[in-house]
């Protein structure tokens, strides 16, 4: 575009007359390609007979889906995925709300506290998992050592050898790594609540709890919704913590769908099953997101 066309009213008018949709077409096309192609390819593989190198040999109909539904470990992993997602997201929200409220207040050293809280976010999830694996190691781990020093246990506990302990520890690590993101979203929400509301309620004699229930929570609601949806999607698909700490063991009792799909694809060479599993995960998440948005749709009222 030359200077003359910008300054020339006719030229500018001509430009504005172009339907604006043409201007975003290239990026729309690119997004559709980048986002859509993998989804299309997974769908295609899920109904195809695929060899382990990803080459499609023919149409398989619903065979791949039947195979995974007949696999008890798939059903077990689905169940465990739901527990994992519910506990991690629920736990994250339960502790993130008070933390966000505290960090939103004014106190000495607030910026240091905020930085510390964000640190887990800056460390790669894989490294976090490796470090925690060392911490809970039965023989050389810091956890047992600490508990022994305080006289809380007298024999070392092999934490990761027991599926219940192992899964609980993995959930705690999951909460730890999901917290910074959630707190950040919630703090954004809190800072948008006008102080005048709290001041007014103080004049009316509201207690802290009443302020929390009647002002903070309702106004935080859209931010809570965003963090629930985003966290569910992240946590549901989160691979490194479980893979690094237990690889789904002992006896598949900590397997979640993503580790199941990974094993099918890369250890067993069953790409078709893996694709079918991925489609199921996609469907579950899509179903959840739609249902959640429907249930929590904003009431048609304004404050």
């Amino acid at each position: 575009m030359t200077d003359s066309s910008v300054n020339n009213p006719d030229g500018r008018a001509r430009l504005l007359k172009l339907p604006s949709v043409f201007l975003i077409l290239p990026s729309l096309f690119l997004s559709a390609l980048v986002i859509g192609y993998p989804i299309f390819d997974v769908l295609r593989m899920s109904i195809s007979d695929v060899n382990r190198y990803g080459h499609v040999r023919g149409f398989a109909g619903v065979d791949n889906f039947l195979k995974i539904f007949n696999d008890p470990i798939f059903l077990q992993a689905t169940n465990q995925t739901l527990i994992w997602t519910f506990c991690v997201v629920g736990g994250t929200l339960l502790i993130s709300v008070p933390i966000a409220i505290i960090l939103n207040g004014n106190f000495f050293g607030r910026s240091v506290a905020r930085t510390i809280l964000l640190l887990p976010w800056a460390v790669s999830m894989a490294m976090t998992a490796v470090v925690w694996k060392f911490v809970v190691n039965g023989d050389f781990g810091m956890l047992n050592h600490t508990l022994e020093t305080f006289g809380l246990i007298d024999t070392k506990i092999p934490w990761l050898a027991d599926a219940t302990f192992a899964f609980a520890i993995e959930i705690l690590v999951g909460i730890l790594v999901s917290m910074p993101f959630t707190v950040t979203i919630l703090m954004g929400g809190l800072s948008a609540i006008p102080d005048s509301l709290y001041e007014a309620s103080s004049i009316d004699g509201a207690s802290h709890w009443q302020k929390f229930i009647n002002i903070t929570l309702p106004l935080l609601r859209p931010f809570l919704q965003i963090s629930v949806v985003l966290n569910v999607i992240y946590v549901f698909n989160s691979f490194p913590i479980i893979w690094i700490m237990t690889r789904g063991g002992p006896a598949n009792k900590t397997d979640i769908l993503i580790t199941y799909v990974y094993k099918q694809a890369f250890a067993f060479g069953r790409i078709g099953n893996a694709a079918a599993g991925s489609v199921m995960m996609f469907a579950i998440l899509l179903g959840f997101s739609l249902l959640f948005l429907f249930i929590t749709r904003s009431p048609k009222e304004t404050l």
């Binding site: 060899n51 382990r52 190198y53 990803g54 080459h55 190691n137 039965g138 023989d139 050389f140 024999t155 070392k156 506990i157 092999p158 934490w159 990761l160 050898a161 027991d162 192992a166 237990t246 690889r247 063991g249 002992p250 006896a251 598949n252 094993k263 890369f266 250890a267 067993f268 060479g269 069953r270």
Partner: protein, 411 residues
């Protein structure tokens, strides 16, 4: 100006390299991928490749290395994308699946008879299936019983146990010494759980696949073999939390002097020399129940079918497998030799901790080379971890693994 300057420099360099190497333009590039056994692996193969490249001008070898846990996935991804290397290192147990899929080049027609004859037949035969040789054995190991001499002496035991009953007796006595000392290590988690079970299976006369091609995982011998481990666990003679212990965990415990006995391979010599020079230990044969056996494992190096420089690739392999390079490899990684010529090498025969693995060679058994083995191994490992935890009797949990295996064998 600049363009001209760079252009003329490039031309000069080109002319110079022509003059120096003569045939530089016709050199074929061979890409070779290795998995890392230790931090020394890459340096070793880079050096072998550098020597090879300097020795002739027709072939240029390029080395890539990857950690073991990434090898299989990366190779599969590369094969599907058409970017596989010309030569790749792999676990022999993956080779069977790759061979069936037609992605490996049969190597027998590419190598000379003399070269093929230089290998210990047991190890080379493992690379053969359906009349073809799909690769060369690059590393081999057998397993033995590592015993901590000091703990054994403290518990009043004179000699390393040779039967499982003696091992049980010894493990109980050692475990009674101190709360932080355990009699014997048993592996229940991570890679190769099934391998640790094979020691017991084979010494109880069991088989992974029976003569009629069915799973032997739930046979009487297999149940007896599992119960053999369960008795150590229930008797309190093992490290706590067997279901969570990986091979590395056991080796670390042994190196820390906390474990009376552990079954492992020659690489543990290397770890102990590096990390725990104070631990006084010996190695003896795997304890027996009804027969002597040990678990043999080989790794394979194969030429890929997609390679366009197969002959050049084999030329490098022949160089890589010369005596000098193999002795060096044996020294840095501690595996048993795969070449006949190495079997008399003092490095292997004079060190009792190395010689014991050579002596066990004749009774070595191998994991079955069948497609889908990874899937069978996973369900076996899962069944074992259930049996070790004491939740379900071995006879019951192994049934599921055997059924799964039969189903996969029939595919």
């Amino acid at each position: 100006m600049n363009k001209l300057k760079y252009g003329s420099t490039a031309l000069c360099t080109l002319a110079l390299s022509f003059a120096l190497t003569g045939q530089a333009m016709s050199a074929e590039t061979v890409r070779v991928r290795f998995a890392e056994y230790s931090s020394n692996t890459e340096a070793h193969f880079q050096e072998v490749a550098a020597k090879f490249n300097a020795s002739q001008s027709d072939i240029v070898v390029e080395i890539e290395t990857l950690p073991w846990p990434e090898m299989q996935q990366q190779l599969i991804t590369d094969i599907s994308a058409g970017t596989a290397p010309d030569i790749s290192h792999m676990a022999t147990r993956w080779m069977a699946g790759f061979a069936v899929d037609g992605v490996l080049a049969p190597i027998e027609g590419l190598m000379s008879d003399d070269f093929a004859d230089s290998f210990v037949p047991t190890y080379l035969d493992l690379q053969k299936q359906e009349g073809h040789t799909w690769g060369l054995p690059i590393a081999a190991s057998a397993r033995g019983l590592f015993v901590n001499n000091e703990l054994l002496a403290k518990a009043g035991i004179d000699a390393a146990p040779s039967t499982w009953d003696e091992a049980y007796d010894a493990a109980i006595k050692i475990a009674a010494l101190d709360d932080a000392i355990y009699g014997i290590g048993i592996q229940g988690n991570d890679l190769d759980v099934e391998g640790y079970w094979f020691y017991s299976l084979w010494t109880h006369g069991g088989e992974v696949i029976t003569a009629d091609g069915k799973s032997g995982l739930a046979s009487e011998a297999a149940i007896a073999a599992t119960n053999n481990y369960v008795r150590f666990i229930e008797g309190g003679a093992t490290q706590p939390g067997v279901a969570g212990s990986s091979r590395e965990d056991l080796q670390n415990l042994f190196a820390a002097g906390k474990l009376g006995m552990v079954l492992s391979g020659p690489w543990l010599n290397k770890q102990l020399a590096d990390e725990a020079p104070d631990v006084s230990y010996g190695i003896s044969a795997v304890p027996t129940a009804t027969e002597a056996a040990t678990y043999g494992v080989t790794d394979t190096i194969s030429v890929l079918e997609s390679s366009e420089v197969k002959e050049e690739a084999v030329a490098f392999l022949e160089y890589m497998f010369n005596d000098e390079n193999r002795l060096e490899f044996g020294k840095i990684e501690g595996f048993v030799p795969v070449l006949k010529s190495m079997a008399a090498e003092p490095f292997f025969t004079e060190d009792p901790n190395m010689a014991v693995f050579l002596e066990m060679g004749p009774v070595a058994k191998f994991a079955p080379l069948v497609p889908n083995w990874e899937e069978m191994a996973e369900s076996l490992a899962s069944a074992l971890s259930v049996a070790y935890s004491g939740d379900t009797p071995a006879s019951e949990s192994l049934k599921a693994a055997a059924a799964k295996m039969d189903e996969l064998l029939a595919e």
